[in-house]
Amino acid sequence: MSRDVTAPPVPAIEVDGLVQRYGPTTAVDGLSLEVRRGEVFGLLGPNGAGKTTTVETLEGYRTPQEGHVRVLGLDPVAEGVALRPRIGVMLQEGGIYPGVRPLEALELFASYYDDPDDPERLLDLVGLDGARRTLVRRLSGGQRQRLSLALALIGRPELVFLDEPTAGMDPHARSTTWRLVRGLRDEGVTVVLTTHAMDEAEHLCDRIAIIDRGRLVTLGTPAELTRAGAGDETRFTAPPGIDRSELAGRLHLSAGAVREERPGEYVLAVAARPDLIVDLAVYLRDHDLPLTELRTTRHTLEEVFLRLTGDRA
């Protein structure tokens, strides 16, 4: 096969019409998506949406029943020997010997790779240098997760799969993990992560796919996904009892678009465009009213997620 030098690089991941069934249940139902090189890609979905099945198919644990997948241009099952040195995997269930110590585990995994990272450096990076000699079974859940993350990175992978990486982590460990993932992206590593934490997806991911019942519901950047829903609002706090119809007139809004949710807390049912802010500021100045808070809110990813996947409840 000849390679055209002008051709764009192979995508990190291609999924095309993937179907996976367990007995009568269809876990993945015709999923297609593409992950670009060097991006942090989030796979979101309710429990049982097919996230883990999809990721495990990409990792080579399951053969696609229909459709096909390519990881770094390779078939994860047939070409696993070539693929495995290039990927890093963090499973939902740790998968580490309970009787081993963190440094031993990292040194062992380092021996599998030709050009591994330094175990000491990684231990330090995930904040486990203080627990290097503690048996894995005595580590806390969050510490085990961090060791699992370090093990996923020991082979200097081009592509990392993180299946719910921050589940069970305290806020401190979580922020360490986030910093690490951002660091990976800066180094050009592609990251695929599944998560339930919407703030995590919003903060970390370049693009997000929301899947439900094994199907792709939507795919885009966090900004695109949150913009897609209407319902932007501007909120401000000022003395209670402002004449709402007068204010609405000055802001060129219908009377119904101005609400006083609680005394002194006002909601304008529009986005905070600069001219709106100017009109609001002029109105308040003319009435000699102090403005104590002003913010604009947008649909959170969580709201988008619940709206797109919530119709089963």
Binding site: R84, V89, G94, G95, I96, G99
Partner: protein
């Protein structure tokens, strides 16, 4: 398959085996305990040379404890904890993992054999010939028992595997011609014992250490059958995820 990976894998697994106290009890405590105990009390008073009778059986028991019980239980828990699954996405191949486990088993068996021979000699055992055939038979037994251990580890839940492996160890100890001669058992049990893997190993090792030319054909055939069928069954039914 990278040698460096296999060797570190074997080293770590060996370290983990040594760290498990209960595993040392089965692989060292029980064989040595039975050897010393049964050579001192006089249940074997009618046997010409009790220590010479016991040592080959204890060697068979040692192989059983390491290849079946220790390997099988450790592997069952590795499966339970997802370790086997996790290793599946590293460059360490399954062949590499199995090689490491084989090295681990052979290293422990070497230590066991050394210890049992030293204690046997201290108890008055003298051996002249048959060492090489005995080693060959013990390796054949290792194949049989490792196959059984892996078959259980790869098909049962970790707790069930633990119970079955230990239970089987006890049954095979009683029906293995190890602590007392097989002819002390009632006829039916004797017939059963002869086709289970423990007695064929103990009896063939005992025979070659007694006289290298004496290799009981029936026992040898049974041992070879177990050494072939048990690993094949393990390969056929082993599931990497629990």
């Amino acid at each position: 398959m990278k040698l460096r990976a296999v060797l570190s894998q074997a080293r770590v697994e060996l370290r983990l085996t040594v760290r498990r106290g209960e595993s040392l009890l089965v692989t060292v405590g029980i064989p040595v305990g039975i050897l010393v105990f049964f050579s001192k009390i006089d249940t074997l008073s009618d046997v010409a040379d009790p220590v010479a009778f016991l040592v080959p059986g204890i060697l068979a028991l040692a192989v059983m404890s390491t290849a079946m019980v220790s390997l099988g239980i450790a592997t069952g828990y590795e499966r339970h904890y997802g370790v086997l699954k996790r290793l599946g996405s590293t460059p360490l191949s399954r062949a590499g993992l199995l090689s490491a486990k084989t090295l681990n088993v052979l290293a422990i068996e070497a230590a066991q054999v050394f210890l049992i021979v030293v204690i046997g000699v201290a108890l008055g055992w003298s051996f002249t010939a048959g060492i090489l055939p005995a080693v060959g038979l013990l390796l054949l037994g290792t194949l049989a028992f490792a196959g059984l251990g892996m078959l259980l580890a790869g098909t049962l839940r970790a707790e069930a595997n633990l119970a079955v492996a230990n239970g089987l160890f006890l049954v095979l100890l009683f029906l293995g011609g190890i602590a007392y001669p097989l002819d002390r058992l009632p006829g039916v049990l004797q017939a059963v014992a002869k086709v289970l893997p423990a007695a064929p190993l103990a009896e063939t090792v005992r025979a070659v250490l007694d006289h290298p030319a004496h290799l009981p054909g029936g026992y040898l055939a049974a041992l070879i059958a177990w050494a072939v069928l048990a690993p094949l069954a393990a390969v056929a039914w082993f599931r990497w995820e629990e």
